[in-house]
């Protein structure tokens, strides 16, 4: 199995996906959660551009990636704003203190 560039990069995409999801599963800090989410979005960007490369229409891949990037930036901004507010109101960034669904 020759490791062509797209294949290597696809394995890299899968690896990043795993790392990003692992980060979201493990971390208890809200801001760390946003960072893990950013890694996941970079995965998506890379996958889109790789797909654009493979089908030969790189500019289509780029346009879609730009859209995702814009949306992701907005998500990051709002996520950080929420984290700041949570810190102000509850005094902690720990995820387990956010839940009020107690028995």
């Amino acid at each position: 199995m020759t490791l062509s560039a797209p294949t290597i990069l696809l394995i890299c995409v899968l690896g990043l996906l795993g790392i990003g999801l692992y980060g979201m599963l493990i971390t208890r800090n809200l801001i760390k959660l946003v960072i893990a989410l950013q890694i996941l979005v970079k995965t998506a960007l890379l996958a889109l551009v790789i797909a654009g490369n493979i089908i030969g229409q790189i500019n289509l891949g780029q346009s879609l990636a730009v859209t995702v990037l814009a949306a992701d930036t907005v998500v990051a901004v709002i996520g950080l704003a929420l984290a700041v507010q949570v810190r102000q109101q509850l005094g902690t960034l720990d995820v387990s203190d956010l839940s009020t669904l107690r028995e």
């Binding site: 394995i11 599963l25 950013q38 890694i39 780029q62 346009s63 814009a70 949306a71």
Partner: protein
């Protein structure tokens, strides 16, 4: 070769970003991921998105995060994770293996015919996307204002109260 090296470096940076104890260190590793990613984009031929990713990912997001961390404080949370470690590892490994089976090996690149320029594709074929992005950014701004409004009100009220106290003296 080059791609292999860049891929390994990117994975390493991402792993360090997750594992770092302090939030600032994490953000710096994330900027590293962004930089390497933009390099890969350039090598794939996507020049414009490389520039955008560099400025947004390594620039804007990093600055935002640093700003947020400065407001919030950088105490690391020492506690163990809520989800048991083996469960997380099994889940991730299962997803990784299944995706591996489904997607590898990657199809061979199709030699592209005439390539329409990026600007044309973005503004004409994907014009609706751009419109949606504008709406997204607009609603994002409103959202942030809404989320932070209470804080703005608090600071204004405390400023008002201290002003009243000053006047009362």
């Amino acid at each position: 070769m080059l791609y292999m090296g860049l891929a390994v470096a990117m994975l390493f940076c991402a792993a360090m970003a997750i594992r770092a104890k302090h939030l600032l260190t994490s953000v710096l590793w994330l900027a590293g991921v962004s930089a390497l990613l933009s390099l890969i984009f350039y090598l794939l031929g996507a020049k414009q998105i490389a520039v955008i990713e560099l400025s947004v990912g390594a620039g804007l997001i990093t600055v935002l995060m640093v700003f947020a961390i400065s407001v919030v404080g950088d105490q690391p949370i020492e506690a163990r994770s809520i989800i048991p470690l083996p469960v997380a590892i099994v889940l991730i490994a299962a997803a990784f293996i299944m995706l591996l089976i489904l997607t590898i090996p990657a199809p061979a690149p199709i030699p592209g015919g005439e390539v329409t320029s990026f600007a044309e594709v973005l503004w004409q074929d994907r014009g609706l996307d751009v419109l949606v992005q504008v709406l997204l950014i607009f609603s994002g701004v409103l959202g942030v204002l809404g989320v932070l409004a209470h804080r703005i009100q608090l600071t204004r009220r405390s400023a008002g109260q201290s002003a009243i106290k000053e006047a009362g003296k």
